[in-house]
Amino acid sequence: MLDTVLRLTAIAVLLRPMGPWFVQPALLALGAVALISRRWLRRSSLWAAVSLTVAIRIADDWPLADNHIYLLAYWALAIALALRAEDAPAALATTSRWLLGFAFVFAVLWKVVWSPDFLDQRFFRVTLLTDPRFTEVTMLIGGLSAADLAADRAALAPLPHGAELIDPPVIAEPPRLKAFAAISTWGVVVLEAVVAALMLAGSRAARLRHAALLLFCIVTYALAPVAGFGWLLLVMGLAQVDPAHVWLARTYVAVFLAVLFYSEVPWPGLLLDAIR
């Protein structure tokens, strides 16, 4: 099980090359060596080097790195430390539970406590209409035409220097799209809160914990364009699987591959074309 966790982490590093010229080749080399050599795969120093290299990447263009880059640095460090422990799988399982638990706690706190525009659904209402990465999903689920969407995007563009129109254009939001925004808002925050609570609840909630994390990844990364985050969460979940539960480990690997397909196959666009 530990080898699978480490190999999938190396694959996640290789699938999304990151950073400037002095970081990217080093990370790619470390990931490749981990996959080629089982001896190096289990070397603490290799994972410490991955963590350090990712930390350099974060510092180099601070504050522009995405959050999963930070999580990758912590995770590689956790692997490096666990490989020095007497029972590496157990040490890694515990650390991954805490890392996931606290990452989700902060994600929930940002949505519920510190963001003025999440729970009132503005975040998803505006994002679905304006973010080009959601164009096909918005057209598919919301029933908007390309022309409607273009008109909405124009209407949502602010005038320079805080100016406002006396008679601003009305933004077309079909009821289906509003309902999708509402479901997304509450679905995301509830699921994230459940994952956070179950991760921090300890080993008593093991089955529910895995179910919640897998559900989160299956649903979220079908739509959210951040596969790198999904792979990392799944690898960290896999690290907590009891080796006797082979079916659960295989489910994690299958969802890891599903996220790969989500990210590489433009399924909303293909579906949209098929039903037109």
Binding site: P63, D66, Y74, A78, A107, W110, W114, D117, P160, H161
Partner: protein
């Protein structure tokens, strides 16, 4: 084996630091390791930087040149004086390289806010920074 706590302590410390920077100094919640992504519309797509260059006989708004895009992204994400000064210095240096006079660079960071009901968008100034070129 207390070292196994180190990754978790790092995560919590960085996230708390990010919350302080976001709440007190205007760092976008999406950046900085605090896990505030997909939580708010206050992110790079809805922040922009206006650049105005002044000199005798000249007051001109500039398009963002490709060579300064990273500095603009940094300043928009975290509009604190040292990042804004770095951008302004880059603007002034670029103007001089191109043989154009520059005495002052004014940067204004804007954030787009959306009405709770109608979603109507309005730009709100987040920071204004004036750099007198030495």
């Amino acid at each position: 084996m207390r070292t196994r706590f180190v990754p978790m302590i790092l995560l919590i410390a960085v996230a708390i630091g990010q919350i302080v920077l976001a709440r007190a100094f205007g760092l976008t919640p999406w950046k900085g390791g605090g896990f505030g992504m997909f939580a708010t519309l206050d992110h790079a797509a809805f922040r922009r930087v206006d650049i105005v260059v002044d000199a005798p006989g000249r007051s001109e708004a500039l398009e963002i040149p490709p060579s300064l895009e990273v500095d603009v992204a940094r300043a928009a994400s975290f509009p604190v004086p040292w990042l804004l000064a770095r951008l302004a210095e880059g603007v002034a240096a670029r103007e001089r390289r191109n043989g154009r006079a520059v005495e002052r660079v004014t940067l204004t960071v804007w954030r787009t806010a959306f009405d709770r009901i109608t979603l109507r968008a309005t730009d709100q100034p987040l920071r204004t920074f004036v750099y007198d070129v030495p």
